[in-house]
């Protein structure tokens, strides 16, 4: 006797998956193919004349030192944001997990920043650090530190990394906390009885058992740093000074929607797409092996 459920109707399965296929086609495959098509054209903004140029847009892209700089900036930015957001969130989650009294209040407060839109988060941080009006910039100046992120690329990078990570910490915190609460208490208690201190218990039991959560968050955070930080960059630095915070997704926007260079911008988004697909594949093939489920 066969226990599997078998569809007798040959058409029904196709109908059932059709909505999903349709959504993928309309919202992913179609725009992606448009980008691919645009990236091999040189076209005027109005679409009145266009010329097929093969890979010229790509050759130009990789011959442009500012594009290569943008790749480097994106790497530094994404790694910093992911690291800062993950470690801070993990630390907070460990602390929150130990709190007994008023735990709910802490947790609620820690989740709040996630409800703030990236653009608004950018504005908030900008107000704090504005070299002329910002209160933090003022305090730094009083301490003898000359804060001017409009001119100093390093400071600009610190600022956008902090702003971007701050927003993501809440999200990571929630997942870490949930992950930790799923770890059986008996394991930790057994280790405690065997004489393991809190640090040892964390590194030998909690952290390894959290790896599925950590892995999931690494993937999410990298994607976040690549794409969702657009609003923060746009509000805080506009990619400046001198391209110091010009991450790839922001450059696509500036060249395409402000510069009206459709071909060049499309070529950049194709490259960006390839990078993110590549990164995700690497994460799933190599890092996932180290995950204990």
């Amino acid at each position: 006797m066969e226990k599997r459920v078998v569809f007798r109707n040959r058409v029904l399965p196709y109908i059932l998956v059709a909505p999903q296929i349709a959504v993928t086609l309309v919202f992913f495959i179609w725009p992606a193919s448009q980008a691919l098509y645009q990236s091999v054209l040189i076209e005027d903004p109005f679409g009145l004349s266009s010329e097929f140029v093969w890979g010229e847009n790509f050759v130009e892209l990789f011959g442009d030192p500012w594009y290569l700089q943008s790749i480097q900036v994106t790497a530094v930015f994404s790694v910093s944001v992911a690291l800062l957001a993950l470690t801070t969130a993990l630390y907070l989650a460990v602390q929150a997990d130990r709190v007994i009294r008023g735990a709910m209040a802490y947790k609620t407060l820690l989740v709040w920043p996630y409800a703030v839109a990236p653009a608004v988060a950018g504005v908030l941080w900008l107000f704090l650090f504005n070299p002329t009006l910002g209160i933090v910039a003022y305090a730094l100046r009083k301490l003898g530190y000359d804060w001017n992120h409009l001119l100093d690329g390093r400071q600009a990078m610190y600022l956008v990394v902090i702003a971007a990570a701050w927003k993501q910490i809440s999200y990571n915190f929630l997942f870490f906390l949930a992950g930790m609460q799923a770890i059986p208490r008996s394991l930790i208690e057994a280790a405690a009885i065997d004489g393991a201190g809190p640090a040892r218990r964390f590194w030998t039991i909690v952290f390894p058992l959290l790896t599925p959560t950590t892995f999931f968050l690494v993937v999410i955070n990298v994607v976040y740093a690549f794409f969702d930080t657009f609003g923060i960059i746009h509000q805080v630095t506009e990619g400046g000074p001198a391209g110091a915070t010009n991450i790839l997704v922001y450059k696509v926007f500036r060249d395409g929607f402000i510069g009206l260079d459709l071909g060049g911008s499309a070529a950049q988004s194709v490259v960006l797409m390839a990078i993110v697909i590549g990164l995700t594949v690497i994460q799933f093939r190599y890092i996932e092996r180290k995950v204990h489920y």
Binding site: I42, E43, D44, P45, F46, G47, L48, S49, S50, E51, E60, W66, N130, T132, L133, N148, L150, L151, D152, G153, E238, G240, P241, A242, G243, R254, D255, F257, I258, G259, L260, D261
Partner: protein
């Protein structure tokens, strides 16, 4: 199923829209603009007044965001086959719009076809020149135009022992004044808005040197940038050196640095004349307006400055009747009363000499000294090939490049020569690409 119902919905919507169109019998004219805040309210007032002045047409102003967002919206609408009748485009988008033959209707053509009364010589040459071909055909209707001037803090001048009625005339004087201000305890001597527009584009016109070949791009698409000449390098290098002593302090892109002047941090500030209203509202001290400084060792300087701001482009593909409405609105907009109102309430310059004369006759400049400085600065000398404006393809992107390179210069990562050479080289690459795309 859902597709069919949405089709039905669309059909119903169309029917309603069509019914509404015939019921009102007025021809609707869409005007997409980029004026927010108080300026947006002035735009609505102008449109209301036009609608009250006649009953055939209904002008509908729609704010589409900032300049770049408005252009992008206009282009997207054109590509979707639904362009507005009038689109406000900033001055650096001129070459892009001009290149879009078939997507636009030049103003001279519109006025000739509709038979609206129109004499290009009524308009101020310094303003319309930017939007006119080399053989004198006006392509778009100037709307909001301004030019850079020097604002200075009179109270700070007094505290630093400077005469508040004698603003600096030249760049060396700006340096001396700024040094005294810094010595008197101010954290910054001078700063600037719109670094590319003021210190490269207007700087060139003011000293009668080209920004690019082919009459700054007016005479052909095969133009090349020239803003890395010894004079440009000298000026930019001077500013970079001043940055070390706080004589000059960089305040950010666009006019983000305005807070530096309004808060009293920097006592001198070069900004668009249209920045007047904001300073009047936010600065808690008396300030004065003066001409843009120049280098006295340059023969013939100062020449005249060029405009910034935006003009109104007429989009193609509309009916004759609608174009008649657009022409009628442009005639209305050019009326001395309308222009004088716009000029006095916004800080933009009037576009006709009649409006300037009217404002003068009303005693406005006596009551508001300094408000006529931009008009004199732009119009007292007849513009040369170097000072009538700029027409470079992809110039929006070139300005981004200039911002990047200037920031590298201000931060001391590059010398002025290196930075400007790189900007010219990167800009030329874009010009070639634009030339290729518009063939």
């Amino acid at each position: 199923m859902t597709q069919r119902s949405s089709l039905v919905a669309a059909a119903v919507a169309l029917a309603i829209a069509g019914g509404a169109g015939t019921a009102s019998a007025q021809t609707e004219i869409q005007w997409w603009h980029a004026m927010g805040g108080a300026l947006g309210e002035r735009v609505v007032e102008i449109a209301d007044n036009f609608n009250r002045s006649q009953s055939e047409y209904k002008l509908v102003p729609v704010n589409k965001g900032n300049y770049t967002e408005t252009v992008t919206a206009g282009i997207a609408a054109f590509r979707a086959g639904k362009p507005p009748h009038i689109l406000q485009v900033f001055e650096v988008g001129t070459a892009t719009m001009m290149g879009a033959k078939g997507a636009i209707k030049p103003v001279y053509e519109l006025m000739a076809e509709t038979g609206a009364p129109f004499d290009p010589s009524d308009y101020l040459g310094a303003v319309t020149g930017y939007y006119t071909t080399t053989d004198g055909k006006m392509l778009s209707m100037p709307f909001n135009s301004s030019t850079p001037v020097l604002f200075y803090n009179k109270e700070a001048f007094q505290k630093a022992g400077l005469d508040p009625n004698k603003p600096p005339k030249t760049w060396p004087e700006v340096g001396d004044y700024a040094r005294k201000l810094v010595a008197a305890g101010y954290p910054c001597g001078f700063s600037t808005a719109w670094q590319s527009w003021v210190h490269l584009e207007n700087f060139s016109a003011w000293h009668n040197v080209p920004v690019g070949t082919k009459e700054n791009g007016f005479a052909g698409l095969d133009t090349e940038f020239k803003f890395n000449s010894p004079l440009h390098v000298k000026h930019i290098q001077q500013m970079a050196d001043w940055q070390k002593e706080k004589i000059f302090v960089y305040g950010g892109r666009r006019n983000l640095g305005n807070a530096k002047f309004a808060s009293g941090e920097c006592a001198m500030y070069t900004e668009s004349s249209a920045g007047y209203g904001g300073f009047k509202k936010n600065a808690k001290f008396e300030f004065g307006t003066a001409n843009l400084p120049y280098w006295p060792d340059v023969p013939g300087a100062p020449q005249n400055t060029i405009i910034g701001g935006a003009s109104l482009w007429v989009m193609g593909g509309h009916s004759k009747e609608e174009y008649e409405g657009v022409a009628k609105f442009f005639s209305f907009l050019s009326l001395p009363m309308v222009q004088a109102y716009w000029h006095q309430n916004t800080g933009y310059v009037p576009i006709t000499s009649a409006a300037f004369e009217l404002t003068k006759k009303l005693g406005y400049y006596d009551a508001n000294p300094g408000r006529d400085i931009p008009i004199h600065q732009m119009g007292d000398k007849a513009p040369t090939a170097n000072s009538k404006g700029l027409r470079f393809g992809s110039f929006v992107q070139v300005r981004e490049i200039i911002y990047e390179e200037l920031e590298a210069i201000w931060a001391g990562q590059k010398t002025a020569q290196q930075g400007l050479d790189d900007a010219v080289q990167r800009g030329n690459a874009l010009l070639r690409k634009f030339e290729k795309a518009s063939r």
